[in-house]
C-alpha cells in the first residue's frame, strides 16, 4: 500500500473475496482433504495426547463418582445444582453458535458462513454430547435416566409433562437429532468426493456407505438444496426453543435470581455469545494447524468478531436489566440477592464474569484487534471463561442464600468436580481433533460454490431460485 498516514486503504464498497487467491476447484479439494489423506504432524499428536490425558482424568473422576456416589462432589443442600448443571448449560450454549452459523446465517444468505459452517456444526454435535453427559452423571445412578422417557413406571404413572425437566429432555434430544441430520446432509456430497478420491479399499467402502451413492446429479441437487433450506428453517427456531427451555429449568422455580421473565432471551443471547467464543477458539486453532488461512480468512474472523461484539452487548443489557428489575420490583429478597452477587462470597467470580463478558469484548470495536489473530484468540478464551462463570454465578449464588437462613451454606467444588469439567473439555477437543482427521473440516461442495465465477448465470443477470 502507498506510504502515508493511512497504512491501508480499504474499499468498503466491494465485498472481499470469500476464498483468497482464486484457487482452482481441485486445489480446494486437495487442501481440504489433506488432513485426511496425509499423516499429520507431531503437533497433532501432541494435541491429541493432551486432550486424551484430560479425557482420562475425567473418566477417573466419573469412576469415583459412580463408585462412591455423588458425595464425592461439593454439592450439598441447598447448593444441589452446582458444577453438573453449570457445565450442562455451558455446553448446550456452546452448541447453539454452531446452529446459528449453519442455519441462521444460511437463511440470511451470509455466504461467508461457508468456510466455517462445517466445523461449527461439528462443534454443536460434540458440545451437545458433552452437555448430555452431565444430567446423567448428576443422577449418580445413570441407568435411572430411562425413567425420563415417556414410559409408565411400575405403578402405571407417566412422566410429568408439565415439568421443564421433561421439556428439556425432549428439546435437547430433538436438537441433537436435527443437528446431526443437518450435519450429515451437508456431509453427503463431500463424502462422495472422498469416495472418489480415496485409493484405500476399506475407506472406499466406508465412504460409499456413508455417502449413500450420491451422484452430484442436478435433479438431486434441486431437492437437496430445498431440504437444506427447510432444515435451516426448522433449526433456527429450534435453537431459540432449546435454550429457552433450558432457562425454564430455572425460571419456572420460585428462587430469587432464577424466577425472572428475562431468562429465556438472556440465556439465548448468552448461548450464542459463548458459542461464538468457542467457534473462534476452535477455528483459530484449526486454520493454523491445517494451514487453511486462505479459506478461513481474516475477513471471516472479523465478521465473527462483529457478531460476538453485538451479542456481548445483548448480554450486557441483560446484566443491567436483572438488578434493575430486582430493585424496581421492591422485593427485598431479590435485592438482597443482587447485593450478594456483587459483594458476597462469590463476588470475585461475578466481577471476572462481568469483565470477560462485557468489558473485554468492547475491544472488538477496533478493526485492528478484530484482525489480529493472537489477540482475538485470547479474547475468545476470556469469553469462554466469562460465560462458564456466568452460569456458575447464576446457579450457585441463587442457591447458597435461599429463603431459610438456617439452610445457608457455602459451596466449594472438589477435585472430582474439576476432574469431570476437565474431562468434558478433553472429550470435546478429542472429538474435534478426530473429526478434523476423518471428515472434511470445510464443506468442499459449498466452498466451490462461493469461489469467483462459480455461478455464470448470475453474471448474465439470469434468475435463480
Amino acid at each position: 500500500m502507498s506510504a502515508g498516514s493511512i497504512d491501508e486503504v480499504i474499499d468498503y464498497t466491494e465485498a472481499p473475496p470469500l476464498v483468497e487467491g482464486n484457487p482452482t476447484l481441485s486445489h480446494l479439494d486437495d487442501a481440504i482433504a489433506k488432513p485426511m489423506e496425509h499423516r499429520p504432524s507431531a503437533k497433532y499428536f501432541i494435541a491429541l495426547a493432551v486432550t486424551l490425558a484430560m479425557l482420562t482424568f475425567g473418566i477417573v473422576a466419573v469412576g469415583y463418582t459412580f463408585y462412591y456416589g455423588i458425595g464425592m462432589w461439593g454439592n450439598n443442600i441447598p447448593v444441589a445444582w452446582a458444577f453438573a448443571i453449570t457445565n450442562f448449560v455451558f455446553w448446550i450454549g456452546i452448541g447453539h453458535a454452531g446452529t446459528l452459523i449453519s442455519a441462521i446465517l444460511f437463511l440470511f444468505r451470509q455466504r461467508w458462513r461457508t468456510a466455517i459452517a462445517r466445523t461449527a456444526e461439528a462443534m454443536t454435535i460434540f458440545a451437545v454430547m458433552c452437555a448430555g453427559l452431565f444430567p446423567l452423571l448428576h443422577l449418580g445412578r445413570p441407568w435411572y435416566f430411562a425413567f425420563i422417557f415417556p414410559i409408565p413406571n411400575q405403578h402405571g404413572i407417566w412422566i410429568n409433562f408439565n415439568s421443564p425437566l421433561v421439556w428439556d429432555v425432549f428439546a435437547v434430544s430433538t436438537y441433537f437429532t436435527v443437528s446431526l441430520m443437518f450435519w450429515y446432509i451437508g456431509l453427503i456430497p463431500d463424502l462422495a468426493t472422498m469416495r472418489d478420491r480415496t485409493t484405500s479399499k476399506i475407506k472406499k467402502t466406508i465412504y460409499s456407505i456413508l455417502s449413500v451413492g450420491w451422484r452430484f446429479s442436478n435433479r438431486h441437487w434441486q431437492h437437496y438444496e430445498k431440504v437444506y433450506v427447510i432444515l435451516a428453517g426448522l433449526a433456527t427456531p429450534l435453537v431459540f426453543s432449546v435454550h429457552s427451555i433450558v432457562s425454564f429449568d430455572f425460571a419456572v422455580s420460585i428462587l430469587p435470581g432464577w424466577h425472572t421473565t428475562i431468562f429465556p432471551p438472556y440465556f439465548v443471547a448468552g448461548a450464542i455469545f459463548s458459542g461464538f467464543g468457542m467457534v473462534l477458539t476452535v477455528l483459530i486453532i484449526v486454520r493454523k494447524v491445517f494451514n487453511l488461512e486462505y479459506i478461513i480468512t481474516k475477513d471471516h474472523l472479523d465478521k465473527m468478531a462483529k457478531v460476538t461484539l453485538l451479542v456481548s452487548m445483548m448480554v450486557a443489557y441483560a446484566y443491567l436489566l436483572e438488578p434493575f428489575i430486582a430493585w424496581y420490583s421492591g422485593d427485598p429478597v431479590d435485592w438482597y440477592l443482587v447485593i450478594q452477587r456483587m459483594t458476597g462470597h462469590y463476588a470475585l467470580g461475578f466481577w471476572i464474569m462481568t469483565t470477560c463478558n462485557v468489558f473485554v469484548p468492547q475491544l472488538l470495536w477496533f478493526r485492528k484487534i478484530r484482525r489480529s489473530v493472537p489477540i482475538l484468540f485470547v479474547i475468545s478464551l476470556l469469553i469462554n471463561v466469562g460465560m462458564w462463570l456466568e452460569r456458575y454465578i447464576i446457579i450457585v449464588t441463587s442457591l447458597y442464600r435461599d429463603f431459610t437462613p438456617s439452610a445457608w451454606h457455602l459451596y466449594s467444588p472438589t477435585w472430582v468436580d474439576f476432574g469431570i469439567l476437565i474431562g468434558s473439555f478433553g472429550l470435546f477437543f478429542t472429538l474435534v481433533l478426530l473429526f478434523s482427521r476423518t471428515l472434511p473440516v470445510i464443506s468442499m461442495s459449498e466452498i466451490k460454490g462461493v469461489t469467483e465465477s462459480a455461478h455464470p448465470a448470475e453474471k448474465l443477470g439470469a434468475e435463480h431460485e
Binding site: F170, A171, V178, I230, S244, S445
Partner: protein, 381 residues
Amino acid sequence: MSERTLYGITALFDAPGKILDASKAATSEGYKNFDSYTPYPIHGLDNVMKLKRSYIGIVTLILGMTGVISLVTFTWWANSVDFPMVTGGKPYFAWPSYVPLMFEMGVLFGAVSTVIALLAIWLGLPRNSHPLHDTEFMKKVSDDGFGICIEAKDPKFDQKQTESFLRSLGAVNVEPAYYEAQSFTLRQLVLDPKFIIAIIVVAVVSSATVYWGLNKMLLIRPWSSLNDQEKVLPETRSEFYPDGFAMRPPVEGTVARSQMPYEFTANDLASAGKYLANPLLPTPQVMRVGQREYNTYCSPCHGYFADGDSRLQGQFPSPPSLHTDSLRLAPDGLYYSVITNGFQGIMPSYARQIPRDERWAIIWYIRALQKSEHVEASVAK
C-alpha cells in the same frame, strides 16, 4: 463388451458456463432423460433444464403437523385417560404446558421425515450400484468437472448421433456408460442366507437388549455404600445365634410401650374396685370416644342404653341391665376389671380389642347412661 447394456453417453466440460449452455442445447434438442452433474449446485441450471419446482416441503408440513397432533393426543391420553393425575394444581389436560413439547415433536417429525423422504423417495438412495459409479466421469464430476449424461432410454437417443451432438457442444471427453454385467433380482437378494441370518441376528440382539434394559437394567440395585450396610435387619436369618434369627427375643417381663399390664388377678374384683380409679376426666372428647367404643363393642349385648336388651338374643346369653342399684353404685375399678378380664366365663375379655384409655372412656359413658335414667326430679325441671 457388447453384452453389457448401455446406460447412456456421458460428456465432460471444464467450466460451469459450458454446462449451462450444454444443458440448454440438450433441452432444445428435445432430450428429456438427461441430467447434469456438477460438483456444487449451479444456479440457473434448474431453469435451463426446465425442472419443476421441488415440492418436498409438503412432507415437512404434513409430518411435522402429525408430530404435533400425536404429541397432543398422547399427552391428553396419558394424563387424562390412562392415569389422570393432578400436578401443580393444573387441569388434567394442561395444554399450555405441552406447547414446548408440541413444538419439539413437530420439528423432530418434520426434520427426520424430510431427510428420509429426500434420500429414500425423492432421490432413490442409497444406491451404490448406479452405472455412473466408479467411472472416470464420476471421479471428475466429484472433483472439478461439469458433466452431462444423456440416457439410452430417451426416445431421441441414438448412440452415434448423441455422441456427435455432445462433441459439437465442445465436450472435453465423451464416453458411453454401461450397466454392470451381473445383476441380482430382489428375490435373490432377499432369500440370500447371509441376509436372512443377518436379519435374525439383528432381531434377536435388539429385542434382547430392549428386554434386558426395561426389565433388568432399571432394577439393578445400586452398589452405593448407603444401600449395602454391614448391619442386620429385623426378620432376617443370622448364623450368629443358635436359634437362627437375627433379631433377639425380648427379656422376660418386657412390657411394650404404652401397654401397662393389668395390676390384679383376674378374679380379684374387690381389689380392683378398691384401688383402681378412672384416670380420665369426663371431657366431651372422652365422652365421644367412650360412646363410639361402647356402641362398637358393648352395645351388641348390653344394648345402646345399657338396658341389657341384646340384639344377639338367642345366640348369646343376655347380660343384666346396668341400671340396677348395685351396679350403679359399683366402683369404676370393677367395671374396668370386667372389661379387661371378662366375667364368669360368659362375657369375654376385651383387653385385646380396646386399649386401656378407651376402656376408661367407656366407663365414663356407662356412668352417663346410668345417670340418664336416674335423673332427680328437681334437675329435670
